[in-house]
């Protein structure tokens, strides 16, 4: 019981303190991937501690019901708790009812999580399948020289609104609208595709699905809500970093600005190649109404144009790695030590 209480206490402390500790370390996305790992470690640490604590309580209750109810009674009422009280049918009935309520609440949370995750997966796969069937293969849309675009799974949808996104599935799809294609040059398109491929390779959709599911299951826990938002933001930055490594910073920044403002990259764009997009008289259609989960463009551009110094990166990495290890080791130590 002491172990369980220690785990509950730790879970509450981690859920309360972790956002305050992590937010300043990850706000600028200095090391986006380690930042992702640290937020995940915090959520896993708090969640697993609470879950293991609950398991210990249930195991104790099932194995030794009478001593369990007695201990529960004494821990609440102290010396006022006499055998007459905790052996009474009224008290037993009360504890049983409480147990039923707790189990039902846990089942409801699990059900909310499962429903959310299952729905998201079904809709995501259906979207990917429809995109691959209804879209035009990008390979047929751009000149052969732009080899990066000639990959299976990348499709163009005819829509004047500039947008690019990836959607996981079997297989996954990367979607670029004709409106976006009209704004981008070869290097920018390559940067967009590298960014989206990094999302797929990093399984960022899984992180989003799980963290959103946790938020749906435990709506009152700030660590989960904050963690889901931070993980979405850091996923963007990690994908940006991957795109910069492959295609360079200028290509990515100009691509971000072009799609965000709806103004084409000067002197480039596949506009003249597309049906319904004359090379001249292009009207700027800024990206609008997109899902608000991804992070803001200005912060990403600022970060790309003004990267932190080496020492700042090293300090941030060290702090994030140390914090992640601590978050994972502490509950393990609590679970093992006292017993």
């Amino acid at each position: 019981m002491i172990t369980a209480l220690a785990l509950f206490g730790y879970a509450a402390a981690a859920a309360g303190c972790a956002p305050a500790l992590l937010a300043p370390l990850t706000s600028r996305g200095v090391s986006a991937r380690l930042g992702l790992a640290a937020w995940l470690a915090a959520m896993a640490s708090a969640g697993a501690s609470a879950a293991f604590g609950a398991y210990l309580v249930i195991a104790t209750a099932v194995a030794n019901w009478a001593p369990f109810t007695a201990a529960l009674c004494r821990s609440v009422a102290g010396d006022a708790c006499t055998p007459q009280v905790y052996r009474s049918e009224l008290y037993e009935g009360g504890v049983t009812a409480l147990a039923v309520v707790v189990v039902l609440a846990a089942a409801a949370a699990l059900w909310r999580y499962g429903r959310r995750v299952q729905r998201a997966q079904r809709q995501t796969r259906a979207h990917a399948e429809t995109a691959l069937l209804a879209g035009r293969a990008l390979a047929d849309q751009v000149p052969a020289g732009h080899a990066q675009g000639r990959r299976a799974g990348t499709v163009v949808l005819d829509d004047p609104r500039p947008a690019a996104y990836c959607v996981a599935g079997r297989p996954a799809a990367i979607v670029v609208t004709s409106g976006a294609l009209a704004l981008l040059g070869g290097p920018q398109l390559a940067a967009v595709l590298a960014h989206e491929r990094a999302h797929l390779a990093g399984r960022h959709h899984l992180l989003a699905t799980v963290t959103r599911g946790l938020t749906a299951a435990f709506p009152g826990v700030p660590l989960f809500a904050r963690g889901a938002a931070e993980i979405a933001r850091l996923s963007e930055m990690a994908a940006d970093d991957a795109a910069v490594r492959v295609e360079g910073c200028p290509a990515l920044v100009t691509a971000l600005l072009a799609i965000a403002t709806g103004a084409p990259v000067p002197g480039s764009g596949f506009a003249e190649l597309l049906p319904g997009h004359g090379g001249s008289g292009h009207e700027a259609v800024p990206a609008a109404g997109l899902a608000a989960t991804a992070c803001a463009v200005p912060a990403r551009v600022e970060r790309l144009l003004d990267p932190p110094g080496r020492s700042a990166v090293a300090v941030s990495r060290l702090a994030l790695a140390a914090l992640s290890v601590l978050l994972l080791l502490l509950p393990a130590a609590l679970a093992v030590l006292p017993s």
Partner: protein
């Protein structure tokens, strides 16, 4: 798996290219000119597409005549509606390259643009 999905896309685009209903034989004859392919492969692909709700079919004598349930433009519009919907409409997990911006963010973006313009390149 990937190869089969690609064939489904190829067949759908062929069906959309026709104005009226098509038979397996029509599509098979077209595809045979481009790639080595078996009649039964085309038949099972179109049967799959029918099962998944992409193609409608009517019996005409011995053969089925297939038509697309919706046009490509309709699917595109549906996808874009899902992709660009305000949060809450869909639960599909899409990773957008660029998110929507409010007034403050646009101002910050313009400031960033001026910063680039001010730099010697």
């Amino acid at each position: 798996m990937r190869g089969f999905g690609e064939l489904e896309a190829v067949v759908m685009h062929r069906v959309w290219a026709h104005d009226g209903p098509v038979t397996v034989r029509d599509i098979f004859d077209e595809l045979r000119e481009e790639r080595p392919i078996a009649y039964t492969t085309v038949m099972s692909t179109m049967d799959n597409l029918h099962r998944k709700g992409w193609l409608a079919r009517e019996r005409d004598g011995k053969a089925y005549r297939y038509t697309a349930v919706a046009s490509r433009e309709e699917y595109s519009a549906r996808l874009m509606g899902e992709a660009l919907a305000a949060a809450g409409d869909t639960e599909a997990v899409l990773s957008h390259f660029v998110a929507a911006m409010d007034g403050d963010q646009s101002a910050a973006l313009r400031a960033a643009l001026e910063k680039i313009a001010g730099r010697p390149s």
